[in-house]
């Protein structure tokens, strides 16, 4: 890490798909990953499907609440919520809920490109002025940080895996588009995820 603390202004702008690959490469214990709508879960999908991945479709802003529900139901499984900046902006109150309940197994990652990339790149109202890690700290997530660069991201992921949370990591993104799109079949996605969570057993193959 550099000498100066990482802020919303000096954090390196990274490639979302590369971060997804780095994250999933470190998951060895069937950790749950909830991918927020649009390009966030598209790049999670593109990084390679895992049985413990859930890909949202609509319900913008609910990646953190869905992950919180998983974390409360299975306190011994690590759960990652991957959310876009525009999505989190729709449901900022959830950070207070997470801080109050303080689930030790939950980690929140915000993928902040400052724009609604999927609708044509319009800047969000937060672009340029809002510091999501500072918001998280203000909500009570005292250790919320920005990742300085890819090496710092890898260190922070490992920290999430090895220590109690809740954790919050802000990630500044470049403007590269997603690699591919998630298959939009919600009943199948839900069924596979439930099997991945051990919450459903079925003789139907898949």
């Amino acid at each position: 890490m550099s000498q100066t603390p990482t802020t919303a202004h000096n954090a390196k702008k990274m490639y979302r798909f590369d971060l997804m690959r780095r994250l999933t490469a470190r998951l060895r214990n069937e950790e749950a990953v909830i991918g927020g709508i649009g390009n966030t879960n598209f790049d999670l999908w593109s990084a390679g499907h895992r049985a413990q991945n859930f890909y949202m479709l609509g319900s913008m802003g609910l990646a953190v609440p869905i992950a919180l529900g998983v974390a409360l139901a299975q306190p011994h499984r690590k759960v990652f919520a991957l959310e876009g900046d525009g999505s989190l902006l729709m449901q900022l109150g959830c950070l207070s809920t997470v801080a109050t309940l303080a689930p030790r197994n939950l980690a929140i990652m915000v993928f902040d490109n400052g724009v609604y990339q999927i609708t044509g790149g319009q800047p969000t109202p937060a672009a340029g002025s809002t510091d999501f890690a500072a918001i998280a700290r203000g909500c009570g997530l005292a250790n919320a940080v920005w990742a300085a660069d890819e090496a710092d991201f890898e260190r922070l992921v490992q920290h999430c895996l090895e220590t109690d949370g809740p954790h919050f990591i802000g990630l500044k993104l470049d403007d590269q588009p997603p690699v591919s799109q998630t298959e939009r079949d919600p009943a199948q996605i839900r069924d596979r995820f439930m099997r991945g969570m051990g919450a459903r057993k079925s003789k139907l193959p898949g």
């Binding site: 749950a32 909830i34 859930f54 949202m56 479709l57 609509g58 319900s59 913008m60 802003g61 609910l62 953190v64 609440p65 869905i66 992950a67 919180l68 529900g69 998983v70 974390a71 409360l72 139901a73 299975q74 499984r77 449901q91 109150g93 959830c94 207070s96 809920t97 109050t100 309940l101 919600p186 009943a187 996605i189 839900r190 995820f193 439930m194 969570m197 051990g198 919450a199």
Partner: protein, 182 residues
């Protein structure tokens, strides 16, 4: 169905509490309401439940959907105006993904409502439930409370579909203020 005498010995919230336990519904996120207060107090007091307030009803729907997929049943408590914030997330999360998200809605806006805002938003509740094709039942009588709650929860779970239970002022007494003198 139970007799009125048996039902009459318990308040509506005591019946609801027992039905939630019998159906292993443990997680209770809520946005509070005055009518729901005795139920909210009861779930907080009972270690069987994990009960907490959320900032918005949408958030609570996300939480119970996540919990269901990981093996824990939950129910969201809210009032009519809170339900009115939910159409998008209900359509795209529990309806689209076939998740039995359970809701208990304290019905404001009718049968003596004093707040015109509540009365106006009340008009949207049943049309939205019907437009979404969501199973919903109104509980207006104490002697029907256990049956409706129990069967609605069981059907939701078995069919993997969301469902709403509406607590009528006929059941709860509603929230009442006396009109000002002219």
């Amino acid at each position: 169905m139970q007799s009125e005498a048996a039902a009459g010995s318990r308040a509506w919230h005591e019946i609801v509490l027992a039905v939630l336990k019998a159906n292993d519904v443990r997680l209770v996120p809520y946005v509070p309401d005055n009518v729901l207060k005795p139920l909210i107090n009861a779930v907080h007091a009972d270690p069987f439940f994990t009960a907490f307030a959320t900032a918005r009803e949408e958030e609570a729907i996300g939480i119970v959907c996540g919990a269901w997929m990981a093996g824990t049943r939950g129910i969201v408590l809210m009032q009519t105006s809170g339900f009115a914030t939910l159409a998008n997330v209900l359509a795209s999360l529990p309806c689209a993904f076939q998740i039995p998200a359970l809701m208990m809605i304290s019905e404001r806006g009718t049968l003596g409502e004093f707040n015109i805002g509540q009365a106006m938003v009340w008009r949207t509740m049943r049309p939205v439930l019907e437009a979404l094709g969501m199973e919903h039942h109104v509980i207006s009588r104490l002697d029907e409370c256990e049956f409706i709650c129990d069967r609605t929860i069981k059907q939701a779970v078995m069919t993997q579909q969301p469902a709403a239970l509406i607590l009528s002022p006929l059941l709860t007494g509603g929230k009442v203020v006396n009109p000002p003198k002219a």
